[in-house]
């Protein structure tokens, strides 16, 4: 389910309850669904400041997506943080960082909670956003850490894999654009390590692309299907921003853009 779909679903779920007490019952149920948070992880650095009750939040990055874990000593707060996690866990840092969290207003969470609790909700949202922003900045460092020294033999072995990974990426289309994501210039970097795991850094033509989730998962599947590739991680980046110059000439022709012939002949 995409982020937008998920948010819609939550708004719908909440609209079933007219009475606020019923909404609280629903939140309490949500809280009970939270997966357990290990006691030893409830450290000061994971505590969210600004809540009357204590809320711990932790997150990890896996396959370019953020996965959250949380707990609280108050059960309604636990329900709220569980709701946030349900919506935002498994999204890319960019998606979260760019989200306006407006659905919280739509379900009346912000306006109906007590002043201190509303403050707590704001702190929770701020913390989730901050973690996303932090994670969005991190992939670079992670990729660098993964970098390794390759021997000539390694390169010889890896070279055909690169060609095949490019071919695999060329199979993937943004459904609204009749040019594959590779020729469109969305792929910024391809790295394959000694274990034959592919690391791809890609972008979209615009940060709020509604199909991003689908395209990323298709690209991942397509690359993982390449014989010899053991796995694929995709990082979504928006720095540098995509521009038309990044398209191949072929793509420009397909999309009806002017092609600088001198340049292409050189």
């Amino acid at each position: 389910m995409t982020l937008e779909e998920k948010k819609l679903q939550v708004v719908e779920d909440f609209s079933m309850y007219d009475e606020w007490l019923d909404k609280y019952e629903y939140l309490i149920e949500q809280g009970k669904n939270l997966e357990p948070f290990p006691e030893e992880s409830k450290t000061e650095d994971k505590l969210i400041k600004g809540c009357q009750s204590r809320v711990w939040l932790d997150c990890e990055m896996k396959d370019g997506k953020l996965w959250f874990k949380a707990d609280s000593d108050a059960i309604i707060t636990k329900g709220i943080i569980s709701l946030l996690i349900d919506v935002y866990s498994g999204r890319t840092p960019q998606e979260i960082a760019n989200d306006d969290f407006a659905f919280l207003d739509q379900i009346g969470l912000k306006e109906n909670l007590s002043p201190t609790r509303a403050g707590g909700l704001a702190s929770m949202v701020e913390t989730i956003k901050a973690k996303a922003a932090e994670a969005a900045a991190e992939p670079k460092a992670e990729a660098e850490a993964e970098a390794e020294v390759l021997s000539a033999a390694d390169v010889k072995e890896l070279a055909p894999l690169y060609e095949n990974v490019v071919l695999a990426l060329k199979q993937v289309y943004d459904p609204e654009i009749p040019v594959n994501i590779y020729d469109l210039g969305l792929i910024y970097e391809i790295n394959i390590n000694k274990e034959h795991r592919a690391y791809i850094k890609m972008t979209f033509t615009a940060p709020n692309c509604p199909m991003a989730d689908m395209v990323i998962s298709e690209a991942k599947t397509s690359v993982e299907d390449v014989p010899g590739i053991t796995g694929c991680d995709i990082d979504l980046v928006f720095e540098p921003a995509w521009s038309q110059d990044m398209m191949t000439d072929e793509a420009k022709v397909t999309l009806g853009f002017d092609v600088d012939l001198d340049d292409s002949q050189a």
Partner: protein, 408 residues
């Protein structure tokens, strides 16, 4: 006066929240305002608004008369011998800060000691910490026992070295709701030459205060907890202290003459009232004192005592409730109840009760050290005023049961 007539004076009590009748049980945080207070504020604002003391025109004379009239009324209300012993402040916090600063500047040197109790509101802790740090003094803490009673028995030992210059203690704790034996504390302190400030933020609401009989050096309270306009407050200080104090804030009104070569200051209490005062707010203390006095009439007071006894017994009888502040003598308890419910977070309870129409307080109640003392992260507090009825008390106990069932 009947309780219905009394409630009629407080229109907000007829309000609804989330479509349910409001039951306001957060009176220890701030009380509601009667019409008489609103009308006084309106009358001054609409008919005699002018700055005080200086101007010769009619409005200024009227406004000054209202303001100084409130000073006399405050002196009468708390039994001060002289209206010059009444300093108007923005509230109890400002009053305590004034004493902490001025007393510190005039009388505290490195190595001196100050005592506060373990049950104090942050407003009666932090100003003394700041002063102690500035002057190199030491802050000592008078503990409470497991029932929330002050360990007055430890006081002689703490005072015996003769280094304690001042003790500051709540008349009634805003968490425990126990009337402290302030006369006994004051007698002990004075024996050792230690001055006493009584924080009367809660005490003034629930006790008939006579500062002369009590013998305290300072008594501080806020108007807003006693039905007056917010931003009003009173510091009572014995005249000899006020005369010995240096000025606190500099500004207009607190001076006699100002020259580039130096300034001479007005006499107390004006020396401590720099800048434009709360022209429309402070005179609302007068109708506030009137209604507070009427609430002590037999017809109202007997209901208030019945309400207190009912809630006290109901909470004590609930095996899930851990009630903080249970004095040996039940008459020392005021209708202020802070408690935890086994297995339920105080904030969850407050949220559910809110949706049921009850305004209660949850959290640390500005008394973090006391929360640590009892090993809790917070409590739930229901604080009653004489305008709360027995019916409301019963509704509260029922709603509490319902909320606990929902959350456990």
């Amino acid at each position: 006066m009947t309780i219905e007539q009394l409630r009629g004076q407080f229109p907000i009590l007829g309000e609804k929240v989330y479509g349910r009748p409001l039951v306001y049980l957060d009176n220890a945080a701030t009380s509601q305002r009667p019409l008489s207070v609103v009308e006084k504020w309106e009358q001054i604002t609409l008919k005699s608004n002018a700055n005080l003391h200086r101007a010769v025109h009619k409005l200024a004379a009227d406004a000054t008369a209202e303001y100084e009239g409130a000073r006399q009324a405050a002196a009468d209300f708390i039994g001060a011998g002289d209206a010059h012993e009444i300093v108007f402040t923005s509230g109890a916090t400002a009053a305590i800060n004034l004493v902490a600063f001025c007393f510190g500047e005039a009388f505290i040197k490195a190595g001196d000691k100050i005592i506060v109790s373990e049950e104090e509101h942050h407003s009666n802790i932090v100003p003394w910490q700041m002063m102690a740090q500035r002057k190199g003094a030491v802050l000592k803490v008078l503990p409470v026992d497991d029932n929330g009673q002050l360990r007055v028995d430890m006081l002689d030992d703490m005072l015996s070295d003769g280094k304690v210059r001042l003790l500051s203690v709540a008349h009634i704790s805003n968490v425990l709701g126990i009337v402290n034996p302030v006369e006994e504390i004051i007698a002990k302190c004075h024996k050792y030459g230690c001055a006493v400030l009584v924080d009367g933020a809660q005490g003034i609401v629930h006790q008939k205060v006579d500062v002369t009989a009590m013998g305290c050096d300072f008594y501080a309270f806020s108007g807003h907890k006693l039905y007056a306009a917010p931003g009003t407050g009173v510091l009572y200080a014995k005249k000899e202290w006020l005369d010995a104090f240096p000025p606190y804030m500099g500004g207009g009104e607190m001076i006699e003459t100002v020259r580039w070569t130096g300034t001479t200051f007005a006499k107390a209490p004006h020396k401590f009232e720099a800048g434009t005062q709360n022209i429309s707010g402070t005179p609302t203390l007068v109708p506030a004192f009137e209604i507070a006095t009427r609430m002590r009439e037999q017809s109202i007071d007997s209901e208030a005592v019945a309400v207190k006894d009912f809630v006290y017994e109901a909470l004590k009888g609930n095996p899930l409730v851990r009630l903080f502040g249970c004095p040996d003598r039940p008459e020392d308890k005021i209708p202020l109840f802070s408690f935890c419910v086994d297995g339920v977070h105080h904030e969850d309870l407050a949220l559910i009760l809110d949706k049921m129409g009850f305004a209660v307080r949850s959290g640390q109640m500005c008394a973090e050290p006391l929360m640590d003392r009892f090993g809790v992260t917070g409590m739930l507090r229901a604080s009653f005023a004489p305008y709360n009825t027995m019916e409301e008390a019963q509704m509260f106990i029922n709603a509490l049961d319902k909320a606990v069932k929902m959350l456990r």
